[in-house]
Symmetry: C2
Subunit: 130 residues, 2 copies
Amino acid sequence: MSKSSAITYSIGELAKEFDITTRSIRFYEDQQLIHPTRKGQTRIYNQRDKVRLKLILRGKRLGFSLAETGRLFELYDADKSSATQLNTIMELIAQKKSDLSQQLEDIKAVLIELTGLEANCKEALAQIEK
Amino acid sequence: MSKSSAITYSIGELAKEFDITTRSIRFYEDQQLIHPTRKGQTRIYNQRDKVRLKLILRGKRLGFSLAETGRLFELYDADKSSATQLNTIMELIAQKKSDLSQQLEDIKAVLIELTGLEANCKEALAQIEK
DNA sequence: CATGAAGTTTACGTAAACGTAAACTTTTTT
DNA sequence: AAAAAAGTTTACGTTTACGTAAACTTCATG
């Protein structure tokens, strides 16, 4: 059972939806992060491409380079039939998880500091307005 | 009451401690993020400079540009005597907090996905080894 | 049918964050 | 004092992630 006539998107639709330029989308393709099909010259994006775009943008917000995001995609797509392969993958996952946990801590710390600074400002403001 | 003979550091010490190059440290100075004093030609870093370096590196881990980190420093140093100034600062803080909260969510999402993928791999491995 | 909107390729430009190197001075160590 | 280690300035090079532009094709439509 295969799906027929699935939902597709044009480059312009995606650009608008994600608020990025078409140039960016083509660039991601150039970097092998997405692989739209073609209808003649025109690029046709499917659901999978759209999801990947979303992941790319989330990666960007986290400071991932496109290459890094690409490596994550590889992890998802990787051939899971070899035990040594699997172990390699799991090491990479563990490393990424560790990095992200560090980031999580960093963010929490900054949030705390900013909240402190905010309180500080509020106080100063109260003083001025008294 | 002022402190005398405070602890200072050489550029090499800091480079080693933070595992970055001296080039980077000079670059941060060039970008006005730190302001070491001089003893003749040689740069002398104090405790404050060291803390800032740490903050710069944490910012980098969070994907902050140097300019952004610089703006955060300005928030800390800002003149808190003007009410309009204070309000501007608090807006910036609120914006940053909002951005960071988004990042926090992003990270949590990726961590969950990675954990899922990890479980997925473990299962595949178990299958192979049976 | 022409015209405007959307798409395409090709290619050069740019900003950020350093790397690398040259050429020199200062400081420390032997 | 000679050599090694650490520091300095100046300047060009590099990578990443697109921006911008030119010049062209395809498609919808008034």
